[in-house]
Amino acid sequence: MQPGGRELEAMNINSLLNQEQSLQEMNNHQNGQPQMSSHFDPTSSHDDFLDQMMSSIPSSNSSFNWDVSSDAARADHALPSTLLSQFDDQSAQLISKLRQHQISSGAAKVLMLQQQLLLSRGLTGNGLRTPSGASGGESGLLQIPLNLTNGDHADVVDGSFQSTNPADDASVQGLFNGFTGTLGQTANQSQHFHHPQAQNFGASAVPGMNQPAASGSTGGGTPAQPRQRVRARRGQATDPHSIAERLRRERIAERMKALQELVPNANKTDKASMLDEIIDYVKFLQLQVKVLSMSRLGGATAVAPLVADMSSERRSSNGTQTASSSNNNETMTVTENQVAKLMEEDMGTAMQYLQGKGLCLMPISLATAISAATCHSRNPLAATNNLNTSNNPLISGEHGGPTSPSMSVLTVQSAAIGGNGAGEASVKDATSFSK
């Protein structure tokens, strides 16, 4: 498949990082699983409010694996950007290798070299394939030392199964291990294991590449000009404008790949959805900072103005954004603001307002317990409106999925969770009513 081979060549030369992404794509396609694996992690830790916080953030995709599990055993890890610099060096080496082969012998050896790369990627990619779905934040995989050789790939696979939600960090780590291994050895890996992957990879890489390189090149029978940084393709003008344009596009593509490793659920191929994910992630992180800065600050009464303040802040800064928020979000925000306002005056009226809407106020631990026990699917939780106010009452609305009993528990226990002896502790009896 000559054109395909040439395409692969070009891709290699342009950016090796592309391969990771398309490999992941391929793996995901093979899995047939949607990337939005609805995995809600009912942590029993104290920092549940953030989990609730996250589930309230609207998004059409329920892919909230940004769930940061606050287990203390989290090791610190080198963030992917350090790996990027390594990638650059190694990619430079590989590029020079490829060039040499190109000049001397032509496509055959080049393809073989590519195969090496693909195999190494394929190995690690396969190892990480099964725990599907990316999750943000840190994962338990980080104990894998960076100097794993190829022989230890079994460890990679095992390690990947240990973590609850291997993050993209993990995948980057694994790929990095594979990469170092590749450069250290010649192509003597277990080829039988990788061949099917390599072939699929070749097939899927081409369409994957054609999207970013949308310069309309036919790509057929391209002459190799080793000296130039960018090769001219037949049927395309070689004027400096298009070359510069192509260069610019490639740089953007490189950076997007780097971002993909950082942002969870970043298996999207096109720029627009990638940008969407990035935007959501940045918003999410900023919101987390805001929430964290007011957590653990004090009693229940004091929190109400904080809540109102936060929602008003958010509203003012969101003045310009339009289509990104879904309708679900809109109604939730309105409700939240209303409740916040009411909470300032009187908790009682706030409670009544919530009751009227069919929502209730409950502590976070209870919410997670209920969700773990009853809700099997993510959807009821996605509709849950959770606003955490430190150790304090938490607004949650459970519309009740098909399996969960639509039980609304009216409990306001502000003191129970924190044991802080907070100001008010109006504990009402748990009443249940169905909607």
């Binding site: 104290h46 350090t82 990027l84 935007i279 900072v289 800065s293 007011m294």
Partner: protein, 191 residues
Amino acid sequence: MKARTGYSTSLKQEFLKKWIKGIRIYSNFKKDMNILERKKAIKLSADLAIASTRNASTRWSRTLTANISKNETNKIFVEQIFSDSEVIKKEAPSRLMARSNRIASKKIWRRSHITQIKARKMGPYAVKARSIAKKLVKNRTKVLKSLVPGGENMDGISLIKETLDYIVSLRVQVDVMRRLASAAENSTRSL
């Protein structure tokens, strides 16, 4: 791509130190704060701390610091924390504007020319689809620019670079804040 220096633990420690220092200065500054002010103080010092870890080498950190310093009361606070001159004013916008204008006019010519060529080659529908995709990307880039501090007049490439850096710093910030919060809660609970 520029290589990034080694990370997390040292970065987190630096951020933590600066953050706590900021909070301490703030509380010395203003003895009695109600809860809103406390929250603002915390957030402010956190933002300042994380921006300063970049030593004003990135656009977002400069913008963040500048935005905080815009408020008069904060300015004193800022200057007190950062006795060393990390607070750098933003670059003069005039230079950037000239550059972007020139580039914009070139782009317009090139775009029209290229669309003509493509329309001849690929047929009208593909061109339309492509333009729709471009519009989407453009809209989202605009949103991203509004999110990242200082992202307003940056081109696509550097915007993505800034976003990368910003996301990394945000993650560090969130992680450290979380740990501190949980540690604080654990300590009160065990008492």
